[in-house]
């Protein structure tokens, strides 16, 4: 019986050995596919995430709600001081609101005088954050908007105020937002009063670095940073944050978006150069049929 047992073990053992070898080869092939044809591999990944993650939401909600409650409870601690602070801030904001209204009116008058054509207002879709990336080395999140909601890769994602990241990977019902804090995120920005161009490059810290600044003398901490729209990926003039000087004496961006409370994201609809398919229909009234066919030839 012992020998029989041994044979049995050997037989299944060699079977398992072949299985392991095949599995290892498949995994290595998958890794190579990921390196060689990255977009396709990421599409496969996104399709799988699309299947799995929205179904996990019911389990996620209690946990994230509980953690929020803990945070809220901590903030009850300093509720009085916060209240005072908010009142002061509100007072200041009222003054700013007045100034903004006056400026807006003045701006409208000047634009009217100049007959300036402005870009169409950007519209957006709001989505809910489902999961974060789950890794220290990747700064991203999955949101519950996907191809079915018309989301296109490359669109900008913002919270109420500032830029958060861009869409990188779209599934049917979910998509991945790559945060500006990720190391692979590089975004062309404009530093505002001096109109200096720079690249906002994430480095896994809360404040991304500003690279390729032309003249450091013209920049000082506190300057506003907005997207420049260079490269045609992002619309221009989305607020990013403020310039700060890091302890390593490097200019960094203090982000306007509040990454601590990122529950909902706005995805900005933007198509940089709308394709012109039918040039004859671009200008002027619709032509009568006979005339149009002549023009067509």
């Amino acid at each position: 019986m012992a020998t029989q047992n041994n044979d049995d073990v050997n037989f299944t053992g060699s079977l398992a050995r072949i299985g392991v070898a095949i599995f290892l080869v498949v995994l290595l092939a998958l890794f190579l596919l990921w390196r060689i044809d990255n977009p396709r591999a990421e599409r496969i990944r996104m399709a799988l995430i699309d299947r799995v993650v929205p179904n996990m939401e019911w389990a996620m909600v209690p946990v994230s709600k509980a953690s929020q409650m803990v945070k809220d409870f901590q903030s009850y601690d300093r509720i009085y001081s916060q209240n005072q602070e908010l009142r002061r801030e509100l007072q200041r904001m009222k003054a700013w609101r007045e100034a903004a209204l006056q400026l807006e009116q003045e701006n409208a008058r000047l634009l009217d005088l100049n007959k300036v054509k402005l870009n169409a207002k950007l519209s957006f879709i709001s989505g809910k954050v489902l999961t974060d990336s789950g890794s220290h080395f990747r700064q991203s999140a999955i949101i519950n908007l996907g191809r079915l909601d018309g989301v296109i890769e490359g669109w900008a994602a913002m919270d109420g105020l500032g830029l958060v990241g861009r869409i990188a990977g779209v599934g049917d019902g979910s998509s991945r937002v790559l945060f500006v804090t990720d190391t692979t995120s590089n975004i062309p920005v404009l530093i505002k009063p001096s109109n200096q161009r720079a690249i906002l490059a994430g480095d896994n810290s809360a404040a991304p670095t500003l690279l390729f600044i032309e003249s450091f003398q013209q920049i000082k901490p506190g300057d506003r940073i907005v997207t420049s729209g260079d490269g045609g990926v992002f619309p221009a003039d989305l607020l990013v944050g403020q310039v700060t000087l890091g302890t390593d004496s490097q200019f960094r961006a203090q982000l306007a978006a509040d990454f601590r409370r990122l529950e909902f994201l706005r995805v900005i609809r933007y198509s940089p150069n709308a394709p012109i398919n039918q040039p004859e229909r671009l200008i002027g009234p619709v032509l009568p049929d006979t005339f149009a066919s002549e023009v067509g030839e």
């Binding site: 995994l27 890794f31 995430i49 601590r260």
Partner: protein, 179 residues
């Protein structure tokens, strides 16, 4: 292997899988999006290694491969690489299992540390060779040492959860199963 009913084997495989899925789930919960520099040890890899030494029936190769492949995909890691490394390390342990069963715990701990280092270096090597992005060295070292430090805790936890130990295996006469 002694006194493992098919039901118990299936139950423990399920427990192993559930543990892995729970781990992925915990990592994915969106609590804070601020980059906080928190580095987690590779707990699931340590669980798999400890189980392979203690009772390899509970962690068949396909289960390990499948679980780590899922985690690669969901956690946005290089696709397939983590599963490849984990499967390679676990199967190496399985081939050399008798040696590890005989070892005292400190010897086992040390060897596991060496295997983990080798596995991590191989993974980095593959990433560098294919010109992929690698994590910084300091983060790699921190994660490695955290994983090694957490190993005794993992062994303690799984010996309670899966009711496995190395001693049972070495005794030649059949041991009565705890009821």
């Amino acid at each position: 292997m002694n006194g493992d009913t098919p039901l118990r084997i299936a139950g423990n495989r399920l427990l192993y899988f559930a543990l892995g899925v729970f781990g992925i789930f915990v990592l994915l919960v969106p609590i804070s999006m601020v980059p906080n520099g928190m580095i987690w040890p590779q707990v699931m890899l340590m669980v798999s290694m400890a189980l392979v030494i203690r009772n390899p029936v509970y962690v068949p190769f396909w289960l390990i491969g499948f679980l780590f492949l899922i985690s690669d995909i969901l956690l946005a890691h290089p696709m397939g690489l983590g599963a490849f490394i984990a499967l390679l390390a676990c199967e190496f342990l399985r081939r050399n299992r008798p040696a590890f069963v005989e070892m005292l715990f400190f010897g086992e701990w040390f060897s596991i540390g060496l295997i983990l280092l080798a596995a991590g270096l191989l993974s980095r090597f593959l990433l560098v060779v294919t010109f992929a992005e690698t994590t910084p060295w300091w983060a790699f070292m921190v994660q490695l040492s955290l994983s090694i430090l957490v190993y005794p805790l993992v062994v303690g936890a799984i010996s309670v959860m899966f009711k496995v130990s190395k001693v049972q295996e070495t005794i030649s006469h059949p041991v009565r199963r705890p009821t």
